[in-house]
């Protein structure tokens, strides 16, 4: 594959950025859920 470095960098950046954001959101949710009651989390 020509230009493999640029192509792989594009994919790695995409997956890393979205993965890092997803991880942040899930962790933040867990941290806040620890301070909330069940009634305050109607999706549960």
């Amino acid at each position: 594959m020509d230009h493999a470095g640029f192509i792989l960098l594009s994919w790695v950046l995409t997956f890393a950025a979205t993965g890092a954001y997803a991880r942040f959101v899930v962790r933040r949710g867990r941290d806040l859920a620890a301070r909330a009651t069940r009634e305050e989390m109607p999706w549960t």
């Binding site: 594959m1 594009s10 997956f15 950025a17 959101v25 949710g29």
Partner: protein, 273 residues
């Protein structure tokens, strides 16, 4: 309590029973708490992970190289879907903002979905800018030109970063919701400007090809499939992210309300004492 009621239910709430009884969970096992997840979001997350793996396989291995672009076309399988999702995210933000402003019963859930969607949109437009820049280096010989499409897309990104900054200004939750909703309804007007910039001005960036009936573009079956798979995968990923993020925002509002309540109670106790 403030009028920004903590009982505002999230707009998107998939009501499925969880196996864990939260009342029995101790702080030490907080990592095991479900947080913003439900059985449905876990299933959706698993599906997205599988589809991302499939997308990487088709986009990087199975699909053919383009006769003109060569292997650089493989960047398109992440570049195009991410800007599509960014457009959609900003449209959702505008629709939810309009709903918040127009409804008599103004639920903050609309505002939270608007904020969550804008945040995810900013992430995806940033990815699209970076991947487009890498593609431009290979195809045009430069990472950046002040081309109409690139410039308007950068302007779109900066606008929504500003929107997120406005959401963090002080005031009550309803003040936040009202001013950010107005801004969202103005900011969304940039999307047609970005989309049609390649037709309005002389642009280095090519016009729409796949979705353009006038374009004479023939795509190999696997190339079209990879592009379609990318759009579907990142759209589902967007849905998963917004589901979680708007619940996080609901929890942040809840915790902020409780902190305010406690501060008021402490102040009253001090006054009485």
């Amino acid at each position: 309590m403030t009028s920004d009621s903590v009982s505002d239910r999230p707009l998107i709430s998939i009501d499925l029973a969880l196996p864990t009884d939260l009342d029995t969970v101790t702080p030490a096992s907080a990592a095991n708490r479900p947080g913003t997840g439900t059985a449905a979001t876990r299933r959706l997350g698993t599906l997205v992970a599988v589809m991302l793996t499939a997308l990487a396989a088709f986009g990087l291995v199975f699909s053919a190289e383009d006769v003109v672009q060569g292997s650089t076309v493989r960047i398109m399988y992440v570049h195009v879907p991410t800007i599509w999702v960014a457009y959609m995210a900003f449209l959702v933000t505008a629709v939810c903002s309009g709903a918040y402003l127009s409804r008599r019963n103004r639920s903050l859930a609309w505002d939270r979905v608007a904020g969550a969607s804008a945040e995810v949109g900013v992430l995806f437009v940033a990815i699209s800018l970076v991947t487009g820049s890498l593609w431009g280096r290979l195809t045009w010989g430069t990472y950046w030109v002040w081309d109409a499409r690139l410039t308007t897309t950068l302007f779109l990104f900066i606008t929504y970063v500003g929107y997120l900054a406005v959401r963090r200004l002080g005031g009550t939750q309803r003040q936040r919701a009202r001013r950010s909703a107005v801004l969202a309804l103005l900011a969304v007007l940039e999307i047609p400007l970005v989309h049609f910039s390649v037709e309005l001005w002389r642009s280095l960036h090519q016009e729409a090809s796949v979705a353009n009936p006038n374009a004479r573009v023939e795509l190999d079956g696997l190339m079209l499939f990879s592009l379609f798979l990318g759009v579907v995968t990142f759209t589902l990923f967007y849905v998963w992210l917004v589901l979680h993020r708007q619940r996080v925002l609901a929890l942040e509002d809840t915790v902020a309300d409780r902190g305010l309540d406690e501060a008021i109670r402490d102040r009253r106790n001090e006054a009485v004492g």
